[in-house]
């Protein structure tokens, strides 16, 4: 009897855990992180707001268990939950399905991490976060309010790109000096929501230069064959300035190319892309910060008038503790397409961690 590849990884983890079972009392941490908000459309005739209502929403609910087996070896298990419509039953006689929106947990991370096998390196094996968004997300700092440009691209534009925050595979990250860091990752390419569906693997590369204290420049690229003759590529640049105390300014630019994305009428390939400028300022450490961001989205380089501009601004207030933060924020959408009316949302986001 042979194990299917999708079952092999959990079995390997289970065996490794069993191996270390007597030692699991060392350093275990359990953490829950929740992004909860109340959002309200301030316009009622926009492309998005026309059909939306005021609503409370759990946008993310993470449960993370980490176990440091020793100073080199660490294990992480993270559940996430969302309320994407789930099919709960299928009636073949009536050719109908039933759906609900219950929050359901799913596995986001399940990996082993080994540090310093080679000096200043980290190796991860399993379902792990990709290197695609991590640096930009850390610098933006407000994942609770909004995903970063590339991460949230599909949510904003409706255009799908192969960009996922977690995937099954292996990675090597490290630094050669304080001026240079790198990351290499090989993953299935379908993300954490699906089992592998083709024979091709996705390769991700990242190089970070920090030539001056507080100035960072990151070049990123990923590649995956789509068919034997077609491929998909993402190019990305992130730059960050943290040269003024308490102020962070970042710029993210990316371009996604997929040979399968073609204009129906002409057969020409189109790319998608965009750029994002963001900043945050710590007014009072652990108490009050301000943040703002401008995004420009280009869903189809062969089409004019489809670009979207988005402005997000708000503040982050921790009245009692950093584990409970209130983050009022406003979202303003502007469409190049003159037929689409602008959208304005107000959201009261609450970040909780315990």
């Amino acid at each position: 009897m042979s194990l299917k590849p999708r079952l092999a990884m959990p079995v390997v983890f289970a065996l490794v855990l069993a191996l270390f079972a007597p030692r699991l009392s060392a350093q275990q941490t359990f953490k829950t992180t929740i992004y909860f908000d109340f959002s309200s459309p301030l316009t009622t005739d926009g492309a998005k707001t026309a059909s939306l209502f005021n609503q409370f929403n759990f946008r993310r609910a993470y449960f993370t268990h980490e176990n440091k087996i020793n100073d080199n070896l660490k294990f992480r298990f993270r559940y996430d939950a969302d309320n994407t419509a789930n099919i709960t039953s299928v009636d073949f006689a009536k050719s109908s399905v039933k759906k609900d929106d219950k929050l359901r947990p799913f596995m986001k991370h399940l990996y082993l991490e080994y540090s310093n096998l080679l000096p200043n390196t980290v190796i991860r094996v399993g379902m792990e976060e990709t290197i695609t968004f991590k640096l930009a997300e850390d610098r933006w700092g407000y994942r609770s309010v909004a995903k970063t440009l590339t991460d949230g691209y599909k949510d904003i534009t409706g255009v799908d790109i192969d960009a996922t925050s977690a995937d099954l595979g292996v990675s090597l990250t490290g630094s050669l000096s304080k001026y240079f860091r790198y990351g290499i990752q090989v993953v299935n390419g379908v993300g954490y929501s699906h089992a592998e569906n083709d024979k091709y693997k996705k390769l991700l590369f990242q190089a970070q230069l920090v030539p001056l204290a507080g100035f960072s420049l990151v070049g990123y690229m990923d590649y995956e064959k789509q068919t034997d003759t077609q491929k998909a590529l993402t190019y990305k640049i992130d730059t960050t300035f943290e040269m003024v105390r308490n102020l962070t300014v970042g710029l993210e630019w990316f371009r996604y190319r997929n040979d399968r994305n073609t204009v129906a009428a002409t057969g020409e390939r189109y790319d998608v892309g965009g750029w994002s400028l963001f900043g945050r300022y710590i007014v009072n450490p652990d108490k009050l910060s301000l943040f703002a961001r401008y995004d420009h989205y280009e869903p189809n380089t062969r089409m004019s008038g489809d670009q979207i501009n988005l402005v997000i601004a708000g503040f982050d207030w921790a009245p009692f503790s950093t584990t409970f933060r209130i983050q009022p924020n406003i979202w303003l959408y502007n469409y190049e397409d003159s037929a689409k009316k602008n959208d304005v949302f107000l959201a009261l986001t609450v970040f909780m961690e315990f």
């Binding site: 926009g46 100035f215 602008n342």
Partner: protein, 303 residues
């Protein structure tokens, strides 16, 4: 909504943002000095801060523990003004600081004789550095192997965000991993509690945690003298001369770090800590005073 209206809303938003920014900046000028980090140092720095605030009405300082790693991270992330740390920064932390534009300046504010403690009934009267390292790596598991009773050694240590954990690992364990049998405690006080109830216990704590409110070594624990090697005499961490002259092998500096030149409020507190008055408090709390060469370097770093 037209583009013009959109831009109007955007301009209003930016204006409100700038107003918040301006008011916020003014508020920030009156904020308290936030100090975070080393659990070994937290009691000492809290007492120093209280005495400083008594002498300087209007001065506001908040002191939190969490471990050296926590304090260093907070300084790198801009969430504290002064980081307390009982170990030197790791290369990874220096690299992170560089990436985030943080240029740390270091100040030695006290000296600690890291103390090796056991239950009062333990007959062991000396351990060498090699023996101590072997025990904490899990290579020696019974007190009998180091001159004690035939009893299993029960190891107590700190969590990995502790500077003391890292200091021991670097200076005693030869940068190798701790025994997986070690109980990783939240703080020095918990290790002392462990020693009081565990006859096979072995732990390490900052020298300031050895004493009770009367300044006497706590009843129920015993401090083990430590020798550099088989041929060297063993010393106690309470021996001021041995610590000052480098004969006690697990003595260490206790540091504070700021991001670049400290603010006026932070610099004023640092000067108080280094002053004869501040150093008298350091001694009163069981730690040792800084050396003249550290004082000279501290003063340079204040400029």
């Amino acid at each position: 909504m037209s583009t013009r209206k959109f831009l109007f809303i955007l301009a209003k938003g930016l204006l409100v943002g700038l107003l918040i920014f301006g008011v916020g900046s003014l508020l920030a000028q009156k904020k308290m000095v936030q100090i975070k980090g080393s659990d070994t140092m937290v009691n000492l720095v809290q007492i120093l801060a209280e005495e400083y605030m008594d002498r300087n009405p209007g001065a506001l300082l908040a002191v939190l523990g969490g471990g050296s790693g926590t304090g260093i991270s907070a300084l790198i992330n801009g969430t504290c003004d002064i980081a307390n740390h009982s170990r030197e920064w790791k290369q990874k932390e220096i690299d992170q600081a560089w990436e985030k534009g943080v240029k740390p300046r270091f100040f030695v504010v006290a000296v600690d004789g890291l103390s090796i403690v056991v239950h009062a009934s333990n007959p062991v009267n000396k351990l060498t550095m090699a023996q101590l390292g072997a025990i904490y790596r899990g290579e020696v598991k019974n007190w009998k192997a180091v001159g004690g009773a035939d009893r299993k050694i029960s190891l107590y240590g700190r969590q990995s965000n502790s500077g003391t954990y890292v200091f021991m690992q670097e200076h005693v364990l030869g940068n190798r991993n701790y025994s997986t049998d070690m109980k990783e405690m939240n703080g020095n006080a918990q290790i002392i509690e462990g020693m009081l109830s565990d006859e096979g216990g072995l732990g390490y704590v900052g020298v300031g945690y050895l004493f009770d409110e009367q300044g006497q070594v706590r009843k129920g624990i015993k401090i083990v003298p430590i020798a550099k090697d088989d041929k060297s005499p063993a010393y106690l961490p309470t021996d001021k001369i041995a610590v000052n002259e480098g004969q006690y092998p697990v003595a260490r500096s206790l540091y504070q770090a700021t991001n670049g030149k400290p603010s006026a409020a932070a610099a004023s507190f640092l000067k108080f800590e280094m002053s004869p008055e501040g150093q008298k408090i350091v001694e009163r709390e069981g730690f040792f005073t800084i050396k003249p060469k550290d004082l000279v370097q501290n003063e340079k770093n204040l400029q």
